[in-house]
Symmetry: D2
Subunit: 293 residues, 4 copies
């Protein structure tokens, strides 16, 4: 009989909005929470017995109840609370992984005294993943959808040329990418104090941005390494950074047929194909644990 291998189940994409009313001043947290649970689940796969199965509907209810009971101080803190609950309250569940997307809102400034109006800040999404096996924690935070572009200070030349190479070398090009970053905190033990998740996120994001802007780039790989290294060097609580950076090609348009010269002014922003550069940057001695796939 075929063997059951790695497996998990849970409720994905529970959308919870939590309002806190501080008098007339309101605050908002907007999360998308996905719960994945693993443990003694052979019976349900092999025989259809649900005796060990807490329904995914219950995972959804728990998200809402915890938002009320405990509030949402940060995505990471909320994920830790949920993971601990499932692993410690359900004997057959040995491991929980909570994934959270957080959508940012900013206040709409108005002439009046109203403090309950918000606008979504953009396409960037903050991410947090919390894994717990009853003993150790692993917290991987990150972001997606942060699109950045340098109009200069990027070159690409000196590369390998084979039979199929036609690319011209570039001494001044646009470098643009859509940053997908994940960083793993060293914290894993309840006995140690947890990092300041809100500050950690803001700081890591800031270092990624400034390293992107400040690096004179000879390749997107070099820029990637500088971005990851900047975070490792400045944030002692972070041991590992993984970056996935599509090279969003901006091709210089050939204007010569129209009697015009293109002095790096007019570009075609291409969709596909795109280069894809992915790498992990580690604190010296740390093991890579963020999945590469």
């Amino acid at each position: 009989m075929p063997t059951l291998g790695p497996n998990s189940y849970g409720k994905a994409e529970t959308r919870v909005v939590r309002v806190v009313r501080d008098g007339a001043v309101h605050h908002l947290k907007d999360l998308n929470v996905s719960v994945a649970l693993s443990g003694e689940m052979a019976d349900v796969h092999l025989r259809g017995s649900n005796a060990n199965v807490l329904p995914t509907d219950t995972a959804k209810n728990t998200v809402y109840a915890f938002a009320k009971e405990h509030g949402i101080a940060s995505a990471e803190e909320f994920g830790i609370r949920l993971a601990r609950h499932f692993v410690t309250s359900q004997q057959p569940i040995h491991r929980a992984r909570i994934r959270i997307e957080e959508y940012a809102w900013e206040r709409i400034e108005t002439a009046g005294r109203a403090k309950h109006s918000f606008a979504r800040r953009g396409q960037e999404v903050r991410t947090a993943q919390v894994s717990y096996d009853g003993r150790c924690w692993e917290v991987v935070s990150g972001l997606t959808g942060l699109t950045v572009l340098n109009t200069t200070d990027s070159e690409f030349w000196g590369y390998v040329k084979d039979r199929y190479t036609t690319l011209q070398e570039a001494r001044d090009r646009i470098l643009a990418t859509d940053v997908h970053a994940r960083w793993r905190y060293g914290w894993s033990d309840d006995a140690r104090p947890a990092p300041d998740w809100e500050r950690g996120h803001a700081e890591a994001r800031g270092h990624l941005l400034s390293a992107f802007a400040e690096t004179y780039s000879l390749s997107l790989q070099q820029t990637l390494y500088q971005m990851g290294a900047r975070v490792i060097e400045r944030r002692p609580e972070i041991d590992e950074v993984r970056l996935s950076l599509p090279n969003q090609h901006h091709f210089l348009v050939d204007l010569e047929p129209f009697g015009l010269t293109n002095d790096n002014e007019v570009y075609f922003a291409a969709d596909r194909p795109y280069g894809l550069i992915e790498a992990t940057v580690l604190r010296d001695g740390a093991e890579p644990r963020i999945p590469t796939d």
Copy 2:
């Protein structure tokens, strides 16, 4: 033989990025341009003769060449230039409609003196549509993807109840929507000076936001009207506003089964179905011209 009715053709979604270098300080315009042309096109439909057809590839080339030759002062100004070109340079073309999406970028602030690094501002897209028939202009500007939310000051009650009505009345609810706005400028004649398109857009957007935030809402229709009326009242250059506002329902989660009270704190953000409220608000005496469909 079946008759040929209304028709148009052109190149859609030409992606052009225009860089302006003011010494070390760079500026950026990022547009998605769609050209639609109409005129004496019976032959190509009925007989496959392309004698009147300027290729759509040429429309694409023209976008790039004009970005170099004339720069991009604003989406509207660029659209006017393109529309005028096609209608006046090609005898068989009697009408041009240029649609532009503009993506906003903001500078990445860095410690260094570099001024060539940018981050995409978000999911909001500025839109402009320019139509020209050789005599009159019609400019409709707008925006999509502006998501806004009030955590209070919204009610919904006193509505019709029929056999199929089960909705409970609400005295305090979240009101959230994703604003799709279009506004038509009164300007139509080359002999009159054109409005300041950049300022017009910023002002209209600001009025939409503040009207949304400042309206105590008894229905999304009321909020919609206030938003449109605010623009009409404050911007004399704008004659018509059309708003399409999905009611992005945030349902109060029932926490009673868990022994908890939900004091308007925990909401489920639903995807579908959603209410959809659409209306045009007009300057007194103006005709509605923005399509309703």
Copy 3:
């Protein structure tokens, strides 16, 4: 005070799946229904009075209740029933427009006698729009997401060349498009028998496909006209066809740098920009009523 112009409201994207059990043989209808209502709605916009407003939640409930009470013989028939209900049962509502997307499922063939298993047929979506003002009906059916491609029998040459034209003429190219078609039935009067909507859709779709495949094309406009004309000529119940056809460019890859000849064998399927060809084809004497925008 700014004037209220054209407006509508309703519930969009109510997802209803209706199962019919004929013993062990089950049947399935899978619809996405959007209701838009108009009428005496000045008060709700101007003063926030909901006295004339049937909640959008009730529109959703009505969709589900009607699916049970009346079944879903076809999207069009279901839309007619809903539109009639809202206009005739609510005095302030003068006009209803029902838009429906229908997703097709096909049976999974199995060795057993089970007849309750289905697989989604694909990305193609059947559409229906029913409008009713209490006297006249307008039914526009259609489809989206039907992607078709001819590997030959397509040329493009003899076009206008201006200063910005660089395109090479083509005597053999791939012609590919993603068909978005809408067709308007002549039926408008309850006193006359309605067409067979299921058969009408299948026949119109078949004619679009065969006209696309059988036309030797000198331009996508010519192919478009042939597709529309074929439907008008073969289906007397249809008075108007509107087609929106993106020209999904497949560019011949230049293999000469690699010492290879590309005999119309290897193509790059481009995303953007794309040509966009749109036209209406009419029965002689019919008015174009399908919106062009």
Copy 4:
């Protein structure tokens, strides 16, 4: 200095359409190819030296040249050819991973003798991933976007109930999912003959479908295991199957407020949240190698 961890680079999403002309009968392969290369890449990350970097543009060119030179017998065979080329022709490259999506087309049947017209078959995508390190092959094939639904023969009861459980047990429910399947072939050695990739895919797909349809389901986990086990039992060339199955909830609509009984006839198809069931099924003795994350 921070350490460089796992990394790769390459060109993603090269869209290639390959036509084969057998007289008037044409054949079509439509692929989306992503190349990822790894090896001696420390210099480019740490110092910006591209001396070991074959440009991603060259990877794109190679895809097109190989499509001409060797044709595309199957996605897997094409991926093997590409992976072997990069690893054996570039000394610094030690590992290649080729990911391919294949889009299916079916012939448009026409009255004429034309055999060059095609329609996209649907949203289902065939996938293939080939990894090569110079010695061993790993081929993981699969599919995404296969949406299936049983209208009956599904129950869910006997599960754990905690403080947050409110779900009612179900003795007859709709079971619907969007199958994402990957299966790993045992073949890894050039010295052994490779499997028939086309037949392998068709057979695996057929077994997944029939197991879904024929399983009387007490939980989606049980159905998942049956689907994977069916493939392992029937296809000796496949050692591992991983399935990711969202539980696309179809909720029975409560029609009682309208005086109607819902005898499992009318359902609301929900978007989010959804259950997510994931598991690997293995041939006895095989190691799980398909990533779980």
